[in-house]
């Protein structure tokens, strides 16, 4: 048995223990608060992430994302959260393409969100829970590029705009004080990208994250 197999066996053996020690965090009717942190991958989707004329080139590609949240659990079936997240947008596909065409550019871009989320919980057995997330808030985008003697901002990005988000989460309480979760969401900005000559493109993105939630 190699080390990986031993580790897997240890995790499998530990799970019933976790379940046994975990208490239903929603047992109490009292409101409680949690703080969570998470990380994962942010996947820009749709035409906005494609380069305007370089076919098959991602101007804004997938990269890591991080988020933090504070949530108030008002009942066994509902919680309310404020979430902040940040995600750089990968530009290496675009810069490598430009280099292949003889143009040396440097580029960077990022995306951030501050959301107020409503979280109804259609399923919970006290340890495992499935949560729906419906959120709205503010989306921040920025980017810049240098090309020869020119340095310019990506003014076609919407900058600050309203955003809506929806998603689903699986949560497992591994103790009375701590839960782990996996969440997939889809967000879209209410303002489009707008290129110099008025062409527009809708901004959509799909973060997939895993994290840890601590009862305060």
């Amino acid at each position: 048995m190699n080390s990986l197999q031993r580790m897997a066996l240890a995790i499998v053996l530990a799970l019933p223990t976790c379940r046994a020690t975990a208490q239903d965090p929603q047992d109490s009717t009292a409101t409680f608060w949690t703080f969570g942190i998470a990380g994962g991958v942010n996947i820009p989707t749709g035409g906005w992430s494609e380069h305007p004329y370089a076919r098959g080139v991602k101007q804004f590609g997938s990269a890591w994302t991080g988020s933090a949240e504070i949530a108030v659990h008002t009942s066994r079936r509902f919680s309310l959260a404020i979430i902040g997240s940040y995600a750089p947008l990968a530009t290496d596909d675009w810069t490598e393409y430009a280099a292949s065409q003889g143009d040396r550019i440097e580029s960077s871009a990022s995306l951030g969100m501050v959301l107020l989320a409503l979280r109804p919980r259609p399923y919970t057995d006290g340890v495992n829970a499935i949560t729906i997330e419906l959120a709205g808030g503010v989306l921040f985008t920025s980017g810049k590029e240098s090309f020869g003697s020119f340095n310019y901002e990506y003014t076609f990005l919407p900058g600050v705009s309203a955003t809506l988000e929806g998603g689903i989460e699986y949560e497992r309480w591994i103790s009375a004080e701590m839960a782990i979760f996996v969440r997939g969401t889809y967000a879209f900005g209410l303002a489009d990208l707008e290129y110099g000559d008025g062409r527009t493109s809708a901004l959509c993105t799909a973060p997939i994250i895993a994290g840890l939630r601590l009862r305060l």
């Binding site: 004329y53 090309f147 020119f150 310019y152 003014t155 290129y195 110099g196 000559d197 008025g198």
Partner: protein, 136 residues
């Protein structure tokens, strides 16, 4: 009549830079007459990925405005062109309070005449020849 003639002369003088008049400020238009995408910088504000045949229009105050246009990167072609466009403020004295043409005989005082302010507009059409020979 003299006033109309004077306005016409002003219009003729500004014709190279004039496409339209506006009360709230002038405008600068830049048209991409090349077959490639352009980045256009107007007074430091970038307008990126202007498609072939596309154009931008920017509101601007009176004065001179420095404009650069260059081939957007990644197209396998390099070229830069610059120009300076001027936006002028035009004051015109058009009519008196009776709606007649204003002149010294029918305007009893300065306050009876109507003054209007307009701004010229300017257009730059970027052609491949302008960008040829310019390196990035």
């Amino acid at each position: 009549m003299k006033s109309r003639f004077r306005s016409f002369l002003v219009f003729l003088l500004l014709l190279p830079y004039t496409a339209s008049y506006s009360d709230s400020g002038g405008s600068i238009s830049v048209r991409n007459a090349t077959e490639m995408y352009l980045h256009i910088i107007v007074g430091g504000d970038p307008h990126l990925y202007v498609a072939p045949g596309g154009s931008i229009s920017v509101s601007s105050e009176a004065g001179t405005h420095f404009i650069s246009a260059f081939y957007s990167p990644g197209q396998g072609i390099a070229g830069v062109a610059d120009t300076i466009l001027s936006i002028s403020r035009v004051e015109t004295q058009t009519a008196d309070c009776q709606g007649n043409e204003c002149n010294s005989s029918n305007c009893s005082s300065e306050s009876e005449s109507e003054h209007s302010t307009s701004y010229t507009s300017a257009t730059w059409t970027v052609r491949p020849e302008a960008l040829a020979g310019g390196g990035e």
